[in-house]
């Protein structure tokens, strides 16, 4: 790939956003490179409009920073200087080749992005071929997929760039057709004059190269004219998927001679190789190489690798290795030890309550949680001749490139990281452990390799959502006695978690910018920009403390909210009952947010809140606000009087407000998927650490939701469009759905849900 030098911000020098933002449009027939300031593109929001309106000091004085500046703001601000860098080509066949600087893991961002391109360029969606951009250092913090910000961060830049491209096409076509630009109409990749003469986009180039003035004045379409954005659109890769043609990393045949590779891992976390004998393994059929993989400086991997003709042969070779292991780094640790240590560091809640107030409180415990994507961590690596080439599913490919370069002693520019569509992430692919390890093995054995973590490795030696404990305490005054309704006087949340590893590049942009909003580290920034209480609960404070344990972690869909918000919402239900109020009416009365009230009302009405239900069944509510969006869930559960039969969520009604829906079909899929995660995490499963080893190994014992655990009935409601820029959606529903399931369980059984997954601790689950 090449690009016009003046259009390319470099990571080496500080970038002046106003002078360097640019984009590249390149192709055999239409080749244009422009550079200009983002704010000359006309209309729409620029980064300065996103900045907090309140002075920083004032913002910091408020316990819930997320009310003023949230994670979405930080992601958009930190990436904004780099978001305008797209590669779009118009081919001789009049197809649009669009390279997306994000990662597709099933969330549908390729399809949503293609819809935006189709809308602004006036082409059909099936005229667009989307590929994923390899790591491009110049994109800095602008090539990250995470934190549910992909659609929000593409929204303005992609619309403006494609609107500019269409303006160039229109002017080129006008010249060719001998009419005024205003007389040219465009559709399906063809520009047409009033008399019907037409020209394909691919054939337009005269007179438009370098016409920056045209691009500067181009304005994206008025949303009232949208024909693609907002219309239900199926995935652009659906046919490839159902025919088995879709290529994931291990299906690629990009490097001749890249052979299947697996790694023997130690018995416990952090264990290292003392000595090994590979002679038996090397004599097995198909085995071609074996090597020790040194301990990763960042703790991700160690063991002995076996390279063979097939994965089956590599497994057999691995099993024939004779390895002496050194002890691990967590051999004295089990879940209970970690819980004890986290209790010790958890900050105290506010001191004793005044006379005449009562309180509701609870301590909640959530286990380590594997991400468990169906495709395990995989990577192809070819390290030779002073260069490294890697193919992997990385959500932070630039960080992967830097890490591999550091590891191999190369320059990042000598490391090519190709981003491959992957079989799920849920936070797991923020890290690129397999890519680093594959490159290391390739450089040691001197041949290209295809490295795959087995399911067992992925579960036992992968990464996990941090184990966390949450003490929540609310004080209140009952109504009636002194007249009027009761009031909540204070709400305290103290979380202590196994530290969240953020050394994946996601944090770099945020912490760089966070210097301007407060002297926080990454985890504290993440916590304070995502956690808030959206009820009028008097004095509220939400605080995090964390402690490093030798268990590898990574954000799990929902980041902190998948646990913290569940604890809050369970206490909200208990508060309502303690104050003698209905859980729904209590929320509506105390909410200080119209949009949250609206989604809650929507699920209560559609789901028939309060309807009479048989014994051991109940409804439950959950509510969440994050990523500039809102979600409410009403879940119905059927519990069992004994452990004979699992509790089942029988129905879910979900309402979301994401400001603007780009693809209703894709959004509904994200909503339902996130709701399913709630069943997995609240009812069904979690990891257990036993003396330094993760007990679970595969789906047989890490028991994610199956068809038979999911509700036959799910209703998804989208609130009307109420803003221009779409809010985040991918993680939005996890906390609300998890809370709704926990609250439904509590109302069905009378048990206060405190430790998860529920069926490990309560017979009725």
């Amino acid at each position: 790939m090449s690009s016009h030098p003046s259009a390319v911000p470099t990571a080496a020098a500080p970038v002046d956003r106003r002078s360097f933002i640019g984009y590249v449009v390149k192709g055999s027939t239409l080749a244009v490179a422009l550079s200009y300031g983002a704010d000359t593109l006309g209309g729409g929001t620029t980064a300065s409009a996103l900045a907090p309106t309140r002075p920083v000091g004032e913002v910091l004085g408020i316990p819930e920073l997320a009310d003023g500046v949230d994670l979405t703001d930080l992601l958009l601000l930190s990436g904004d200087p780099f978001y305008y860098d797209f590669l779009i080509r118009i081919t001789d066949e009049n197809r649009i080749r669009f390279e997306l600087p994000r990662m597709e893991v099933g969330q549908g961002i390729e399809t949503a992005a293609a819809m935006i391109v189709a809308e602004e360029l006036d082409v059909a969606i099936d005229q667009i071929d989307v590929s994923l951009s390899p790591a491009e250092i110049r994109r800095a913090t602008g090539q990250i997929t995470g934190g549910s910000h992909s659609v929000a961060s593409l929204w303005d830049p992609l619309r403006k760039v494609t609107a500019a491209l269409r303006a160039l096409i229109v002017h080129g076509a006008a010249t060719r057709l001998g009419v005024a630009p205003g007389q040219v109409s465009t559709a399906n990749g063809v520009a047409t004059a009033p008399d019907g003469r037409s020209v394909r986009y691919a054939d337009v180039s005269d007179g438009v190269e370098g016409r920056n003035d045209l691009a500067r004045t181009a304005v994206p379409k008025d949303p009232s004219t949208y024909r693609v954005i907002g219309s239900p659109t199926n995935r652009i890769d659906a046919r490839d998927i159902v025919t088995g043609r879709m290529k994931y990393a291990m299906d690629l045949d990009v490097v001749p001679g890249a052979l299947p590779t697996v790694v023997a891992r130690p018995p416990t976390l952090g264990g290292t190789v003392r000595s090994y004998d590979a002679s038996a393994a090397l004599s097995m059929p198909g085995v071609v190489a074996a090597c020790e993989v040194p301990t990763d400086v960042e703790g991700a991997s160690s063991g002995v690798a076996v390279v063979a003709r097939t994965f089956g042969e590599a497994f057999r070779g691995r099993d024939a290795l004779r390895i002496e292991w050194n002890p691990g780094t967590a051999d004295d640790l089990s879940d209970d030890d970690i819980i004890t240590q986290l209790r010790a560091i958890n900050l105290p809640t506010l001191p004793a309550v005044p006379i005449l107030t009562k309180s509701v409180s609870g301590e909640f415990i959530f286990p380590y949680m594997a991400h468990a994507p169906l495709e395990t961590m995989t990577a192809i690596a070819d390290v030779s001749g002073g260069k490294a080439r890697v193919w992997t599913g990385a959500k932070t490919p630039i960080a992967a490139q830097a890490k591999i370069a550091r590891d191999l002693g190369m320059l990042p520019t000598d490391v090519e990281v190709n981003v491959v569509k992957s079989g799920g992430s849920f936070g797991r692919r923020l890290f690129f452990d397999a890519a680093v390890e594959a490159a290391r093995i390739s450089s040691i054995v001197g041949r290209p390799v295809k490295l795959m973590f087995t399911r067992q490795e992925d579960t036992k030696f992968g990464r996990a959502r941090p184990l966390s404990i949450h003490k929540v305490q609310a004080t209140y005054r009952r109504g009636g006695l002194l007249g009027g309704p009761g009031a909540v006087l204070s709400f305290d949340h103290r979380a202590a978690t196994s530290a969240l590893d953020a050394r994946h590049g996601f944090g770099e942009g945020i912490t760089a910018f966070a210097g301007e909003v407060g002297a926080f580290g990454f985890s504290q920034t993440l916590w304070h920009t995502t956690q808030l209480v959206q009820y009028d609960f008097g004095l509220t404070s939400l605080l995090l403390n964390e402690k490093e344990f030798p268990v590898a972690t990574s954000s799990w869909r929902g980041i902190y909210s998948g646990t913290a918000v569940v604890a809050n919402e369970v206490i909200v239900d208990e508060l309502a009952r303690a104050m003698g109020e209905d859980e729904y009416e209590f929320r509506m009365r105390t909410l200080d947010d119209d949009r949250s009230q609206a989604v809650l009302r929507a699920v209560a009405e559609a789901g028939g809140w309060g309807r009479s239900m048989p014994r051991r069944t109940a409804q439950g509510l959950g509510l969440h606000k994050e990523y500039k969006s809102r979600a409410a869930v009403l879940a119905e559960i059927k519990t069992s009087p004994s452990a004979q039969q699992d509790a089942r969520v029988t129905k879910m009604v979900v309402a979301v407000d994401v400001n603007r829906v780009v693809n209703p079909t894709g959004l509904e899929a994200q909503v339902i998927g996130a709701a399913t995660d709630a069943i997995t995490t609240i009812l069904r499963t979690g990891l257990h650490l036993d003396s330094g080893a993760i007990r679970e190994s595969s789906y047989g014992d890490f028991e994610i939701a199956q068809m038979k655990h999911t509700p036959p009935e799910i209703e998804v409601i989208f609130m009307p469009t109420n803003g221009d820029r779409p809010g985040g959606a991918g993680e939005l529903v996890v906390p609300a759905a998890a809370a709704a399931v926990a609250n439904a369980f509590a109302r069905a059984t009378g048990i206060r849900p405190r430790r998860f997954p529920l069926r490990d601790f309560y017979e009725e689950a």
Partner: protein, 153 residues
């Protein structure tokens, strides 16, 4: 290493393999048939689900000694001459897939469900489909697609 002969997607194949090699790795790594995916390697997740003759099998736990002389069909051969099987079409129409990694196995399992039960109830779908894991949570649309394919037959 013995030569083992079997049929895959209508083509006879002879390949040198150990009797206890699992079929999945032979077809993926040596024959380049990559539709069946590795998800667990122990027959639990269903991502490699294919047909042996008329039956569902999980190639990750089919030893080559059991594969000899048998006929296998993978997702790649479900569509005939590029005409999709009605279940594949239903999967597209309901936009079932998210990451897509498990879907070959889901589709193959659904095809056999509908062959033996053209009009499955929710309970039948629970029973037939629960041993195919989907981490993205596409079960709701899988259920709808199965019903759509049933009503279009």
């Amino acid at each position: 290493m013995p030569d083992i002969t079997f049929d895959i997607n209508g083509t006879p194949v002879t390949i040198d393999a150990e009797n206890d090699d699992a079929l999945l790795y032979l077809i993926r790594d040596r024959l380049g048939i990559t539709g069946p995916k590795y998800g667990c390697g122990v027959g639990v997740c269903g991502a490699c689900t294919s047909f042996r003759g008329d039956e569902l099998v999980r190639p990750c736990i089919v030893p080559m000694s059991d594969a000899a002389g048998q006929s296998f069909t993978t997702i790649e051969a479900l569509a005939v001459d590029d005409v999709l099987h009605p279940v594949q079409q239903a999967w597209i129409d309901e936009d079932v897939a998210q990451c897509g990694y498990c879907q070959a196995g889901q589709i193959m399992t659904a095809v056999k469900l509908l062959e033996r039960n053209p009009n499955p109830s929710d309970a039948d779908i629970d029973e037939a489909m629960s041993d195919n894991y989907c981490r993205c949570g596409t079960y709701h649309r899988i259920r709808k697609a199965i019903k759509r394919a049933a009503s279009s037959a």
